[in-house]
């Protein structure tokens, strides 16, 4: 007998959907806060991916946490949240505190390292991590391990030689690597027509003899499904995949950017209407996966969680100046 007021048991897909929705909300709230902290002069720099949440969270939930390798790029707050990095840990990086688990304050914000989750720090230099992903996948293959690497980047990165060299290398060796492109239509100010004369990044896959697919990057379930399939294919040894998730960033490129210089308010408004979080919320409410009350409570809880994390991270100690000299070379014991 099911009692009133007691949550009914959830099916597995429902649990997954609720988890993804929560991660999307948390990623958004955390990102909004990071930008606000910069605007208030409390953080030197911020880079975030509001608008990319479906692409990031949907794909990250298709990974095997702790087994698969993840090479995120600077926009991927949602990927890290989905992998389980806490808001406090992400904020320690934003504030460049001694306790920043990614780098002890050495790296720019949102350039994560997290060995337990096999996250390796990315290069600020565009596309340099694509060859790394190919190399990690090469190692997995040589060692006969059933690991997959997923590397994230923007469409602008596909103009770099490193993109082409990495995809070609991975294709030749049939490596277990998913090249995941978050195509938001802009590379800082430059619209994608200035980067490529093909319509879709996925079209580039043909030139290397691998499968490329385009997906609505604001539809978390579609992204999840395609990522699942691609990662499974890789795990079965069927070679690399290129995924292009079409999306839009709802914020400036970074805290140093003024996006009014290159895109219109009307265009932004169009995309705000397609906000991936609003879309997913409507669906979950419609399907009865969650109730409006549950949604409100969840949002309230996330706001509080992030506010508490900000408080605690901002008060954490700064790195000691003499620490600047450490870790140039591996010390005894690494």
């Amino acid at each position: 007998m099911v009692r009133v007021n007691e949550p009914r048991p959830r099916t597995a897909p429902e649990k997954l959907h609720r988890a993804m929705y929560r991660d999307m909300l948390l990623s958004r709230e955390l990102s909004d806060r990071m930008f606000a902290l910069n605007r208030q002069g409390r953080a030197a720099f911020a880079v975030t991916g509001q608008g990319h949440e479906a692409a990031q969270v949907g794909s990250a939930h298709a990974l095997r946490r702790g087994t698969d390798w993840v090479l995120p790029y600077y926009r991927d707050v949602g990927v890290l949240v989905a992998l389980g990095m806490t808001p406090r840990d992400i904020l320690l990086g934003l504030f460049a505190k001694a306790g920043d688990p990614a780098s002890g304050g050495r790296q720019m914000p949102c350039h994560w390292s997290w060995p337990e989750m096999r996250v390796v720090t990315r290069s600020s230099v565009i596309a340099a991590n694509l060859p790394h992903a190919a190399g990690i996948a090469y190692a997995s293959k040589l060692r006969g391990l059933k690991e997959v690497s997923v590397v994230y980047f923007g469409e602008g990165a596909t103009s770099e030689g490193d993109f082409h060299e990495a995809v070609n290398f991975a294709a030749i060796h049939k490596l277990p690597v998913v090249f995941f492109c978050e195509n938001n239509g802009y590379a800082i100010s430059e619209s994608s027509e200035k980067q490529m004369s093909v319509l879709h990044v996925a079209d580039r896959a043909k030139g290397y003899g691998i499968t490329g697919s385009t997906v609505d990057g604001n539809d978390v379930l579609a992204v999840h499904q395609l990522s699942r399939w691609s990662i499974d294919e890789c795990r079965r040894g069927r070679g690399p995949k290129l995924i292009e998730a079409k999306t839009y960033r709802l914020v400036p490129h970074t805290s140093s950017d003024d996006d009014r210089r290159y895109r219109t308010r009307a265009e932004l408004d169009e995309w705000i209407k397609r906000d991936p979080i609003d879309r997913f919320r409507a669906r979950l409410l419609d399907e009865g996966t969650m109730t409006p009350d549950e949604d409100a409570a969840l949002r309230e809880q996330i706001k509080r969680q992030v506010a508490e994390a900000v408080e605690s991270a901002e008060r954490a100690p700064e790195p000691a100046p003499e620490d600047a000299l450490r870790h140039v070379f591996a010390e005894d014991g690494g």
Binding site: R106, M108, R261, E322, A324, L325
Partner: protein, 328 residues
């Protein structure tokens, strides 16, 4: 003379070139509608059109490589690489090609290419956005390397860069774009290979370029209070280098310190020290010292970054010790 920013000084030189030389065109990432990462080309797209001001894909190698091609074909391209950090993606084009095509063709091919980029640290941009790699380019025969310290330098040296028949690596400092100084409205050109005596003095020569000139100058002001009269040299170009100017100053002061953001080990400071001992050994009262960045990738945190960079207090301390005969 009007007081204008380093950025505006660069803009004046570029605008002059676009207006007066049909062969000149600019290309680089985000230089069009965006006006450049450091707003140096802001408004140029509207003013001069897409033929002259071209946004490129994120492809540094082809930006420089195509610049070389266009230069060989008779145009005068200026390519902007955002920062010296990203020039590393084009280093084969710069070092293996731009610098050597003239020599390898027995002087038949010329590459009059201006490559602008921002260098330097101190702006909390992390290890991959804070390099001072000018010594690498200065190492390469066939490249001219320009390192302006003031708005006056910026305009005059950039004007000269466009007169060159050789590839020029023109390195601006990220922390100087908003700095101000007097700049003539009229056209002028500053010669390459001629250092400026930024502050005359008799007790010790502080040698700097780009951002470190200002640090050296502030250190000299502090030293004045300690009764020490420091001379500050602004090198302006690293290649060609004004060896005579450096030597003349050291002959006068008998002591020298080189100041640079760059790593100490294998940095340009070492070259200057060697030249001084080759040309002015008998005039020296003390070893020539270097005040450089620490040999670490530049950390992001302000506390760590400042610990890794040369500081005025450090320059003052070295100079005081030198003048008192104490050396480390």
């Amino acid at each position: 003379m009007p007081d204008i920013t380093y950025r505006e000084a660069l803009r004046q030189a570029l605008r002059y070139q676009l207006e007066h030389d049909e062969r000149v065109f600019l290309m680089g990432e985000d230089i069009g509608a965006y006006g450049g990462s450091y707003a140096v080309t802001k408004g140029f797209l509207e003013e001069f059109g897409e033929r002259r001001v071209k946004d490129t894909p994120i492809s540094e190698s082809v930006v420089v490589g195509a610049g070389i091609g266009a230069a060989m074909a008779g145009l005068k391209p200026m390519v902007e690489l955002m920062t010296i950090n990203f020039s590393l993606l084009a280093i084969d084009q710069i070092v293996n090609n731009a610098s050597k095509l003239h020599y390898m063709s027995n002087g038949q091919i010329r590459v009059p290419l201006v490559m602008r980029m921002a260098g330097g640290a101190g702006s909390q941009l992390g290890a991959q956005h804070s390099h001072s790699l000018e010594s690498w380019y200065a190492h390469v025969p066939g490249l001219k390397v320009v390192v302006p310290a003031t708005p006056y330098d910026a305009k005059g040296l950039l004007m000269t860069a466009f007169e060159e028949e050789n590839p020029v690596v023109f390195i601006e400092h990220t922390a100087l774009y908003a700095s101000k100084g007097e700049v003539p409205e009229d056209v002028y050109r500053l010669p390459f290979g001629a250092a400026e005596v930024f502050r005359a003095g008799t007790d010790v020569t502080l040698i700097g370029y780009s951002g470190s000139v200002h640090q050296a100058f502030r250190a000299a002001q502090q030293l004045e209070e300690e009764g020490i009269d420091a001379e500050v040299l602004n090198l302006r170009t690293l290649r060609p280098l004004d060896v005579e100017g450096i030597v003349a100053s050291v002959r006068k002061t008998s002591r020298a310190i080189v100041i640079e953001d760059d790593w100490k080990f294998g940095g340009f400071g070492g070259e200057i020290v060697a030249l001084i001992q080759e040309h002015a050994f008998d005039y020296l009262d003390a070893p020539v010292l270097r005040c450089s960045g620490s040999d670490v990738p530049m950390p992001y945190s302000m506390a760590l970054e400042q610990a890794a960079l040369p500081q005025e207090a450090g320059i003052v301390e070295l100079a005081l010790n030198l003048c008192e005969g104490v050396t480390p």
